[in-house]
């Protein structure tokens, strides 16, 4: 492998990894929204949802309160 190719591979690796992380964040956000909405429809409190997600009640409410209040 020439030095040029090595340099390209090294540059591409973080970009590929970061792209995967970004895609994973987006996927996780969508799954979270779907499940929070369903939990609210099933009568779950914000506190119960927050405990399952491992975050504060305020964090969940701030994020979804308007949408799924």
């Amino acid at each position: 492998m020439s030095d040029d190719l090595l340099a390209t591979a090294a540059a591409a690796e973080p970009a590929e990894g970061l792209r995967a992380v970004r895609a994973l964040h987006t996927l996780a956000d969508r799954l979270e929204a779907l499940h929070v909405e369903r939990a609210r429809q099933a009568g779950w409190s914000w506190q119960q949802i927050a405990e399952c997600l491992g975050v504060s009640r305020q964090a969940v409410h701030q994020r979804y309160g308007k949408r799924f209040g």
Binding site: E16, A20, R22, D29, L34
Partner: protein, 178 residues
């Protein structure tokens, strides 16, 4: 309102619908209209963006990267996640299209940001005393609205409203709007 649109502006609106559908969007927003405006190589908006070093592909990349854009199946596959398998699971619980819209579907129409962009484009044409609305006016409208999906595209391209106004004026100077 489309009777005052030039041929390239009508094409832009139709392409906005096609692009929004390809991106799996439920409705056409102002970002899709900006992409539609630069879909033809000789459109005023395309020439103006080219002067600023930007292309339709750049605009499409920005729309793809939005949180409501298509999920990046290739990037997920690279870390061992099969998006099709995830989608099958999720849709079994939440119904078809719940994880993402259906790419290739036909969007239902313009959302408020797109309607606003078209209105502002009309006002830009009136302000410039142009009889017709072309894709240059659509781009001027994007630079005028100040927030929302069209502004996000310009920000993503690293362009200020003044950059856009100057570039459109330069193209209009060589190719006056009818």
């Amino acid at each position: 309102m489309f009777e005052r649109f030039t041929h390239d502006a009508r094409t832009a609106v139709e392409q906005a619908r096609v692009e929004a559908g390809a991106l799996g969007a439920q409705r056409i927003d102002a970002g899709h209209v900006v992409l539609g405006a630069v879909s033809e190589p000789d459109a005023v908006a395309t020439l103006a963006l080219a002067r600023l070093g930007a292309s339709a592909d750049d605009v499409r990349d920005i729309l793809r990267a939005r949180p409501d854009g298509p999920l990046d199946a290739d990037a997920l596959a690279a870390i061992g996640i099969d998006l099709d398998a995830v989608r099958t699971q999720v849709e079994a619980t939440f119904g078809p299209g719940s994880l993402d819209g259906a790419p290739g579907s036909r969007p239902r129409g313009f959302d408020p940001s797109a309607k606003k962009l078209l209105e502002v484009a009309l006002r830009e044409a009136v302000r410039l005393r142009d009889r017709r609305i072309d894709t240059g006016h659509l781009l001027l409208a994007a630079a005028r609205v100040g927030e929302g999906p069209a502004q996000d595209v310009l920000t993503g391209l690293g362009l200020s409203p003044q950059d856009v106004r100057d570039a459109v004026a330069e193209v209009h100077a060589t190719r006056p709007a009818a």
